[in-house]
């Protein structure tokens, strides 16, 4: 036998090719994870502020962002913020033109509710028409005091506004009732006229009853708003422009060049917490993604609640009750192929069937008084979850069937021989035994469902949902509401945002978070499955 043919027979080239394939795919996965990790986690680190002077005399203050080499040109990107003054918050400059770059101690970063970061120097602190400048001593701690006061005042403003809404709420509702009756021309009938009359009288009484309190609250609100506006910092940019920053619109401010590593870490943790626990700001490019996390997790849970019982029941019927033959084989094949249908097709089906047909019909029957404004006949978390449940159904059915097949025949016969009915056998012996298989199905469904975006875009996901689907107002669970989702958030922030450059880090952080959530959900399911496996390890002797 020649050397070559022996080599071929052993199959070494194929083993080598298979190994290479594995290494390449694993390498790519690792690379993508590392990029996401580095970029996603690095975003929250407070960067030093550099003041750059160019040879034409221009000065910039900002964060060093990126470098780019083009043959002999070396360029640096600086985030110089101050969008309200400069228009854009990034500049590219040629390294050859840079005369000097310094890290001034007194440079501050201001994170604002609007217009992104502001970089500059504090000139004066203004609190209710009293200005304090650097001449009067420690201006920075004064600024922080003012900051506290501003946010306190702002909270009071919000509180007072809420009080006013609560106070006028019954009256507003009554007035809406009256105008509805008027539109319906209720005064054409005797009883309609009587009703209208009564409502009007009630409204009048109510108005008089609350009038005094309403006026008091209003004047208090006015005072608070004026106070709120009167607390601001006078700041100066590095090129000498002045600007007043109302402190209640500043989220936080700090001087990164003065901060030590410990302070920076503390700041970093705070930012990280803000990211997972707060609402988004600035068209989603700043602040947190809490509503998106909430929406994603809730949608996955709702999907699981819907898909597991259905998938398990379908698999049980196919396996334990249906007569095995051509029909069951065909059904199995169809279910398997369903897994290959593009997800957008499921989205279209969800839109047509769940939203327009089911939701529309429910609206006709139960919420006809609100029409033409739809209640359930529009996208919402319920319909999106059901659409995803449909999408992941094949996975659950297939995994459950495998679990059912793995149940020892001897155990099934044992149960029947003890006088159990088929259903009792399934419930008490087959299902507990098949539980690991069912959970495998759930794990696969979660992984697939949590990352799916396309079908959600037409069944209820939005870029900014004003309310969560679960809150303290009756009936607590609002399945008709639209929701936010991390996957869609990535798409929206990264590709639909007006300020793509500023949004880029957010894309990485959100992707990282989505991956973490999928991993976390999986770990929980795997943990449960392993516990069950231990309990139901098949009998051995």
């Amino acid at each position: 036998m020649s050397q070559m043919s022996y080599f071929k027979k052993k199959g070494d080239p194929y083993i080598f090719a298979a190994g290479m394939g594995l290494i390449i795919s694993l390498g790519m996965v690792a690379w993508i994870l590392i990029v996401i990790l580095a970029k996603g986690l690095g975003f929250f680190w407070p960067r030093d502020l550099v003041e750059v002077t160019l040879d034409d005399g221009k000065k910039y203050l900002g964060e060093m962002w990126e470098k780019r080499d083009d043959y002999d040109r070396h360029e640096t990107q600086l985030k110089n913020g101050n969008r309200d003054l400069y228009g854009i918050d990034f500049v590219w400059m040629d390294d050859a033109n840079i005369v000097s770059s310094e890290y001034p101690e007194g440079a501050f970063t201001f994170e604002r509710m609007e217009y992104g970061n502001f970089y500059g120097y504090i000139v004066a602190v203004n609190v209710e028409n009293q200005a304090v400048t650097a001449v009067d001593g420690d201006i920075v701690s004064k600024a922080y005091d003012a900051f506290e006061l501003a946010h306190q005042t702002h909270d009071e403003v919000v509180e007072t506004q809420q009080e006013i809404t609560d106070l006028t709420e019954p009256l507003t509702r009554l007035q809406r009732e009256i105008s509805l009756l008027e539109i319906d021309r209720a005064d054409r009938t005797e009883e309609g006229r009587a009703l209208l009359e009564r409502y009007r009288k009630e409204a009048n009484e109510m108005e008089q009853a609350i009038a005094e309190e309403y006026l008091a609250l209003n004047s208090e609100l006015e005072k608070l708003v004026i106070k709120d506006r009167s607390i601001f910092l006078s700041v100066r940019t590095t090129d000498g422009r002045n600007k007043d920053l109302q402190l209640s619109h500043v989220v936080r401010f700090f001087a990164p060049n003065q901060m030590g590593i410990f302070e920076k870490s503390w700041h970093y943790m705070g930012k990280l917490w803000e990211f997972v626990a707060d609402d988004p700001r600035e068209a989603n490019t700043e602040g947190g993604v809490f509503p998106a996390i909430f929406g994603t997790v809730m949608m996955v849970i709702l999907m699981s609640i819907a898909v597991v019982p259905f998938g398990v029941m379908a698999a049980i019927y196919l396996n334990e009750y249906a007569k095995q033959g051509v029909v069951t084989r065909f059904i199995r094949l169809s279910v398997n192929n369903l897994a290959g249908v593009p997800s957008i097709v499921f989205g279209v089906f969800g839109l047509g069937f769940f939203i327009y047909f089911v939701g529309g019909s429910i609206d006709q029957l139960l919420f006809s008084d609100k029409l033409p404004e739809p209640t359930l006949g529009t996208g919402g978390i319920l319909w999106a979850s059901l659409t995803l449940a449909l999408l992941t159904l094949p996975v659950v059915v297939v995994a459950t069937e495998e679990g059912l097949l793995a149940v020892p025949r001897a155990n099934k016969e044992g149960a029947l021989a003890l006088g159990a009915t088929r259903w009792q056998m399934i419930r008490k012996v087959v299902l507990p035994n098949a539980m690991p298989g069912i959970l495998t199905g759930l794990i696969l469904a979660i992984s697939r469902g949590a990352g799916e975006v396309a079908p959600l875009m037409i069944t209820g996901v939005v870029k900014l949902a004003p309310t969560l689907a679960l809150d303290a107002t009756f009936p607590f669970l609002h399945l008709d509401r639209k929701f936010m989702h991390l996957g869609f958030h990535i798409y929206d922030v990264g590709f639909q945002s007006p300020n793509v450059e500023a949004a880029k880090p957010m894309v990485y952080s959100t992707a990282l978070l989505l991956i973490l959530i999928v991993i976390l959900l999986n770990i929980v399911a795997i943990y449960v499955r392993n516990n069950l496996r231990k309990r139901y390890k098949s009998s051995t002797f």
Binding site: K323, Q324, P408, A410, N411, E413, G414, A415, L416, A417, L418, G419, A420, T421, Q424, K428, V429, P432, N433, R535, Y536, K537, S538, S539, T540, F541
Partner: protein, 280 residues
């Protein structure tokens, strides 16, 4: 095997007039199970039982012996309709238990299987606690009270001769028991249903001699209260524990008689050949 086929056919044609000894003995017994020209088909081509007429007496141990593949298990599983689970299988003729045709429409399957318990060759405890295993039958048959169940579990485990060994760990998993204990648990599980008849398909064939001895002891105890039908490959076992023995061959019942007579003075030559180990 062809020559045996002819012999078997010959015997089953003649035994109708000849088996007077068995008739005499059985006349004193109460008959619990009786078949009437039973034929069993796994599918139209595979006829596993041919023209079986057998009478099984009350509160006695009846053993089925015969070479592998002769249909012992098939016949046993006709008595609690376990064969119903096999798609395409059907039978002709009648199986009567307490004079009622168990294949008639009126019979409730679960009720029948509660009355006719079964112990399998390979022990098959459920992956649950010992207590739950034994309580399984009573529970599915409608007994729910914890104290009632406790009482039944204790009674069944005592009768199955397992109580002493497991009474302190009723809540531990049944899968942690030894092979022999698992099989006795399966017997106890069957007893918990308070059956009239217990079918055992080679209950000790997978066990070591000591465990086998324990199971045989248990069976000896049980025959006071239950009618037992047991399939075994072990001639000594059949001789030790059974009162009656039926010898089967190629799906037919060659001979049935008291165990003593089968082992000392069988009326068919083939039976003697089998028992003395000349074939099979």
């Amino acid at each position: 095997m062809m020559n045996y086929q002819e012999e078997v056919d010959m015997v089953s044609q003649t035994d109708k007039q000849e088996q007077t000894h068995l008739d005499d003995v059985l006349a004193k017994e109460r008959i619990v199970i009786e078949t009437d020209d039973l034929d069993f088909y796994y599918n139209p081509e595979v006829k596993a039982l041919k023209n079986i007429n057998i009478r099984i007496p009350d509160k006695k141990v009846t053993a089925f012996i015969g070479p592998s593949g002769c249909g012992k298990s098939t016949l046993l599983r006709c008595f609690n309709r376990m064969n119903d689970l096999i798609p395409g299988a059907y039978l002709e003729g009648k199986v009567m238990i307490e004079d009622a045709d168990i294949y008639s429409e009126k019979i409730r399957l679960e009720e029948l299987r509660k009355r006719v318990g079964m112990v399998f060759q390979k022990s098959n405890p459920f992956p649950m606690s010992i207590w739950e295993n034994v309580a399984f039958g009573p529970r599915v048959n409608g007994i729910q009270g914890k104290s009632d169940l406790d009482e039944i579990v204790e009674f069944a485990l005592k009768q199955g001769d397992l109580w002493r060994e497991v009474k302190d760990r009723l809540d531990s998993s049944a899968l942690d028991l030894s092979g022999g204990q698992q099989q006795r648990l399966c017997i106890a599980r069957t007893l918990a249903n308070k059956p009239e008849i217990i079918l055992m398909d080679e209950p000790a064939s997978a066990l070591d001699p000591i465990s086998t001895g324990k199971i045989e002891e248990t069976i000896n105890e049980l025959k006071k209260d239950y009618t037992i039908v047991i399939v075994t490959h072990n001639m000594q076992q059949a001789a030790r524990i059974s009162d009656y023995t039926a010898f089967m061959m190629l799906g037919e019942m060659v001979e049935m008689d008291t165990t003593k007579r089968i082992f000392t003075n069988p009326s068919v030559q083939m039976t003697e050949d089998y028992i003395t180990g000349r074939f099979g």
